[in-house]
């Protein structure tokens, strides 16, 4: 499935630098997000996770360096051409970003109405399917302002996947969710990735879920990133990794690392 060298990375950051005023957020960031894998981006608050996702969507342009999505360098694209790229992306914003003048149903139906010729019946079916996927029923006629925080995030999640994107960007999909819904969203992300082949990039503080579903982990700190497989990071001697993950994370990772040998039949 994955093409020749370099094609296997869906999103690539090359020497990306960005500063807000005099405060640098990224300096020489190099990162690759493999196609059809789940990458979890971690890092303390303010490390630049949301900014990273916004750059993939072309909402934030880097000062230096290059961001390539599906082989296209975003720097060369104007707003119209970016629209073409964005139609292959689904994005869950950290605060949902649903249009607060429209009902939940209309919010989720909006991209379908704008970009497809589907009948009202098909749209209705599709929207309800997505709402069921995220565990919401009977919220059609509510305004986003009438939802709870967790419901709002799940409705926004439904909107981000309704167009069947190739790349799904999720900014903290688990924050504010109760444990059953964390499992539900986690399972949904894994399903989208394993069965529908989406490339998923998630930013999260939720250690357990992140470690369970990640094919690749990416740790942001001091304007750069360390990335690797969960097992690979666990065996690294870098103390910042251990510091960030805490004891739970490290022991979980250590467990992961032991598994292959433990389960080895030979």
């Amino acid at each position: 499935m994955a093409g020749p060298e370099g094609q296997s990375d869906h999103v690539v950051f090359e020497q990306v630098g960005l500063a807000f005023g005099r405060r640098p957020v990224f300096s020489g960031l190099n990162l690759a997000f493999p196609r059809q894998k789940i990458t979890v981006v971690m890092g303390e608050s303010g490390a630049g996770k949301s900014t990273l996702l916004r750059m993939i969507g072309g909402l934030q342009r880097p000062d230096r360096g290059e961001v390539r999505v599906a082989g296209e360098s975003l720097a060369d694209l104007d707003e119209t051409a970016l629209g073409r790229v964005r139609r292959r992306l689904g994005m869950l914003f950290q605060n949902g970003a649903l249009l607060d003048s429209m009902t939940v149903f209309e919010n989720i139906a909006l991209p379908l109405r704008e970009h497809t010729e589907q009948s009202e019946e098909e749209i209705r079916r599709m929207v309800h399917q997505r709402l069921r996927d995220v565990g919401l029923g009977d919220v059609d006629d509510l305004l986003p302002g009438e939802l709870s925080g967790g419901m709002l995030r799940r409705a926004a999640f439904a909107r981000s996947i309704v167009m069947a994107p190739e790349i799904l960007l999720c900014d903290e999909p688990f924050s504010g969710l109760d444990p059953p819904n964390v499992s539900r969203i986690e399972a949904l992300i894994v399903h989208l990735n394993r069965n529908l082949g989406l490339t998923v990039i998630v930013s999260s503080h939720h250690m357990a879920s992140s470690l369970r579903m990640a094919d690749q982990l990416c740790l942001m700190r001091a304007g750069a990133a360390i990335s690797g497989t969960p097992a690979g990071l666990a065996s690294s001697q870098d103390s910042t990794i251990a510091n960030f993950m805490g004891e739970d994370g490290v022991s979980y990772l250590a467990g992961l690392q032991d598994q292959p040998s433990a389960g080895d039949p030979s």
Partner: protein, 258 residues
């Protein structure tokens, strides 16, 4: 001294850059008018927000201004024994000046500020970015319908204001002070030229509407993405639009007078 000159220089360059961005923004709105889909439903709902919701304010203000004009002009005119001309004086001052200008200021305070606040809040909560991520142009989806609505409601509300004002002055002059109803109306009708007065009045308020639409949507669209930024932008809309409306009023009046 150096600091003052530097500050002035920076202010001038920033103002020019700001005007440039505003011009590009206006171009984007105009282009959005021709790009399908036409956004009829969104324009209708914006017309409701800016127009219908401003109606009560405009009617009440028009009526009150009519009362005041009736009293003031009656007193002044009666010194010359010309109180019969009350209809002429009230009609001309309302149609030519007070209607468009006061409506412009009222709508800037009511609907212009609301438009800025709404677009600004959508920016602050990433709703505009959300639209962009869905490959929907926020200028086409959010800005253009509101700009069209603000532009269109201005002449309509100004006409309502003028009618209410004439009615208010009628109540004072005829019902309260005992002028002859027929002569009030006949004077009014004789004095007013369609082309000279009514059409110019409508063109004036259309220009005010365009100015307000441009300023209000731009201030919202370009505001700093947080609550304080939105509130600054909202204040700035009312101040800037009011000053621009008054300046444009003078410019148009002077233009037509020569």
């Amino acid at each position: 001294m150096k600091a003052v000159v530097g500050g002035l220089g920076r202010w001038v360059t920033e103002s020019i850059a700001g005007l440039g961005e505003m011009t590009i923004f206006a171009g984007r709105i105009v282009r959005a008018l021709w790009v399908p889909p036409a956004r009829g439903a969104l324009i209708r709902s914006a017309l409701f927000d800016s127009g219908v919701l401003s109606l009560a304010l405009v009617c009440a203000s028009g009526l009150t201004v009519g009362f005041v004009l009736g009293l003031q002009l009656y007193n002044t005119l009666s010194r010359f024994g010309a109180e019969e001309s009350l209809g002429t004086a009230v009609g001309l001052s309302l149609i030519r000046e007070l209607g468009p200008v006061l409506t412009g200021l009222l709508v800037a305070g009511r609907a212009g500020s609301a438009t800025t606040a709404e677009i600004g809040a959508m920016k602050a909560t990433e709703q505009l970015d959300g639209l962009r991520m869905m490959a929907i142009d926020p200028v086409h989806f959010v800005v253009m319908p509101r700009a069209v609505a603000l532009t269109l409601v201005m002449p309509l509300l100004s006409a309502v204001f003028v009618l209410c004002g004439i009615g208010g002055a009628y109540l004072i002059g005829v019902e309260l002070l005992g002028l002859d109803s027929g002569s009030y109306l006949a004077n009014l009708e004789n004095a007013i030229q369609f082309r000279e007065d009514v059409l110019q009045s409508l063109v004036k308020s259309l220009v005010f509407g365009l100015l307000l639409a441009w300023i209000a949507t731009w201030r919202g669209f370009s505001c700093a993405p947080h609550a304080a930024g939105v509130s600054r932008a909202t204040t700035s809309t009312v101040v800037t639009a009011s000053v621009c409306i008054l300046l444009a009023d003078y410019a148009l009046t002077a233009l037509w007078a020569v």
